[in-house]
């Protein structure tokens, strides 16, 4: 019995922290396929499919900055002028008809044509922690299976089962679970060489609750760009001097 207790203590105090540190390292490597700098401007195209048929297309410009800050500008005709600001666990939205920044809840950011959380979140290492639970093959790719739980309350998914390629840590597949621990979505990642660098060029998300629905997020361009901190002030959303 004493032997088991000693083994348990050793696992708790040595192996698990090492594994946790290892997970952070893996997540940072996986993040580097979507987020190549601390501050970026990303142009995204979102296509929503229903039963395999294209239902809607939307364009978004996303500004990201360290400190879990992101600003989403809707660019499609029907949404032009809408903006969503995310500062850590806090969110604001502005509609062009009324021009007032209003607070929205983490739940509200999941509504609309496409989840703003899916469009603007490109970073797992700041929001999740977890452990390596095994090794599996996903579509013929040997992968590490990471079980992740949210560190922050404002994230869209409370739990993620992430599969990253064992050889280069690129994201391959993710099962996304909402607060009720229901499997909400399943994401698959397309990685290709862009300007000599391996990047996630698309993320296909299958809705597991509303079956038959699929969202494909295509990353049209990424460039390092840091906008001043005041742009991430909720009241700045009413101004137009953000150079796009």
């Amino acid at each position: 019995m004493c032997k088991y207790i000693v083994t348990f203590i050793i696992v708790c105090f040595t192996v698990l922290p090492a594994r946790a540190g290892e997970v952070t390292k893996y997540l940072k490597k996986a993040d580097s396929y979507r987020l190549e700098a601390n501050a970026m401007q990303v142009e995204t195209e979102v296509k929503l499919f229903k039963s395999g048929k294209l239902d809607k297309e939307r364009l978004y410009t996303v500004y990201l900055k360290n400190g879990r800050r992101s600003l989403v500008l809707m660019q499609s005709a029907g949404e032009k002028g809408q903006k969503v600001l995310m500062l850590g666990d806090d969110f604001w939205q502005i509609m062009p008809q009324s021009q007032r920044p209003i607070r929205i809840t983490p739940m509200q950011k999941l509504l609309g044509d496409a989840s703003v959380g899916d469009i603007a979140t490109m970073n797992w290492s700041e929001d999740y922690d977890g452990s390596v639970t095994g090794e599996v093959d996903v579509d013929g790719t040997p992968c590490l299976h990471l079980s992740l739980t949210a560190k922050n309350k404002g994230v869209s998914y409370k739990r993620i089962e992430l599969f990253i390629a064992k050889n280069d840590y690129r994201p391959v597949k993710a099962n996304l679970y909402v607060a009720s621990d229901k499997l909400a979505k399943q994401a698959r990642f397309t990685v290709a060489s862009v300007k000599g660098r391996q990047q996630v060029t698309a993320m296909a998300i299958k809705d597991q609750i509303q079956t038959g629905r699929e969202t494909v997020i295509n990353y049209l361009s990424r460039k390092a760009r840091s906008v001043p901190d005041e742009y991430y002030n909720p009241m700045f959303l009413t101004r137009n001097d953000l150079k796009e």
């Binding site: 929205i104 509504l111 101004r239």
Partner: protein, 411 residues
């Protein structure tokens, strides 16, 4: 704005957007037919013929939105065809403003929509914009001429704004010249807003608002405004014992002191896509149940004069004057609003039901709506029913129902 002006605005807009990249220009076209059913049992119904109540109408609107060199333009051209009236063409320059910075300070000037409150059914802190919250199709508001100086830090911001320059006290309160100061502070999950405004009509107005997200699914908000002076419109014939008809407009604007507007509310959003909004508000500038009893008594006395041989035109015309009681954003001081809606991510349909009630006189307004959001179009349809207890303000509205359809295309 009439036809020629509309053409001028559209041409100016064309010149403005010609060098602009196509991605910075968007156009939205609306057609909004509305079917209004007259409430013939309303004591105000005899005067409705001299107003827009009960008239079916169609509004066609084209909205242009463009942006270039930190200049933002929103312009609307519209035609409203109302039953029994000539079609009316309007052109509105909703926004034309330029944002710039000098020595690190942020400035802005032009014409812009300026909204400050945190509420939905009522917005006490919208001192400048003064939006009609009871419109059934939310078209873009018309901004106000302004010059502002803003400063932003990580968690706070302030704005000094001068609106409607050299207008003084205008005929319509929205066009009044005024200067206002707004302060914003973000404290973790809570936003704080404080405002102060000086104008000839209201003298000092000051207030504060708060919006907070205590839970992932819940937002709570509230606002409070104090007005040193405010105005209320009354029919001077109410309470008079003798003369019940007047050959000139009997509506009078009374100035009162120490007005208060207050609002408290919440939104709850569940994982399944249901959202519930609840709000309660008080508006001292609106009417009391006693005011409504007085004006009801007056219009009933005026209608009774017909049997004594009074001219129909004089009676109906006098009743029509009192229809201006219905022009207030809130018909009564105390109001409650509940709104339940449903929309999931990527879902095309959005049903909603909202109920506004006035507990003091048991008045009720129920609106059921259904929206379909497509790729390049949106369809909104709904029905609004006015009712409640006999003698309540909403039951006395000369309309009992509005059925509407709003077809919207965007490119």
């Amino acid at each position: 704005m009439r036809g020629k002006t509309a053409i001028t605005v559209v041409c100016a807009a064309g010149l403005f957007i010609s060098p602009v990249a196509a991605s910075d220009v968007s156009i939205k076209a609306w057609v909004i037919p509305e079917y209004h059913t007259l409430n013939s049992s309303s004591p105000f119904a005899p005067g409705a013929g001299q107003s827009d109540f009960g008239r079916n109408r169609t509004r066609e609107e084209v909205e242009l939105r463009a942006k270039a060199w930190d200049v933002n333009l929103v312009a609307t051209a519209a035609t409203t065809a109302m039953e029994g009236k000539e079609p009316e063409q309007t052109a509105i320059l909703n926004e034309l403003n330029y944002d710039f910075s000098v020595a690190g300070e942020r400035f802005s000037l032009g014409k812009k929509i300026v909204n400050w409150d945190v509420g939905f059914g009522f917005r006490p802190l919208d001192l400048l914009q003064q939006e009609n919250r009871r419109s059934i199709a939310a078209t873009t508001l018309e901004g106000i001429p302004y010059l502002s100086w803003e400063k932003f830090s990580g968690d706070s911001a302030w704005m000094l704004i001068y609106v409607n320059p050299v207008q003084g006290r205008a005929t319509v309160a929205k066009n009044d010249e005024s200067v206002a100061l707004k302060y914003y502070l973000r404290n973790a999950a809570t936003d704080w807003h404080a405002v102060m405004r000086l104008s000839e009509r209201h003298h000092i107005e000051t207030g504060a608002a708060v919006s907070s997200v205590p839970l992932e699914s819940m937002e709570v908000h509230g606002s409070l405004l104090y007005q040193q002076r405010f105005e209320q419109q009354y029919n001077s014939l109410t309470g008079s014992s003798g003369v019940h008809l007047n050959s000139s407009d009997p509506m009078q604007l009374n100035t009162r002191r120490h007005g208060v507007k207050a609002l408290a509310g919440f939104t709850l959003t569940g994982e399944a896509g249901f959202s519930l909004l609840g709000e309660a508000w008080y508006d001292a500038t609106s009417y009391s149940a006693a005011d409504w009893r007085d004006v009801k008594q007056l219009v009933e006395q005026q209608a009774a004069l017909l049997s004594q041989g009074a001219p129909v035109a004089a009676v109906n015309g006098n009743i029509a004057y009192s229809l201006r009681y219905f022009e207030r954003p809130n018909l009564l001081k105390e109001n409650l609003l509940l709104r339940l809606s449903h929309r999931r991510e990527g879902e095309n349909w959005e049903p909603a039901l909202d109920i506004l009630c006035t507990p003091v006189d048991a008045g009720l307004v129920a609106t059921a709506s259904l929206a379909y959001i497509g790729n390049h179009f949106r369809v909104d349809s709904g029905v609004r029913q006015y009712g409640g207890a006999s003698g309540s303000a909403y039951r006395m509205l000369p309309e009992e129902r509005i059925v509407y359809l709003a077809l919207q295309g965007f490119w």
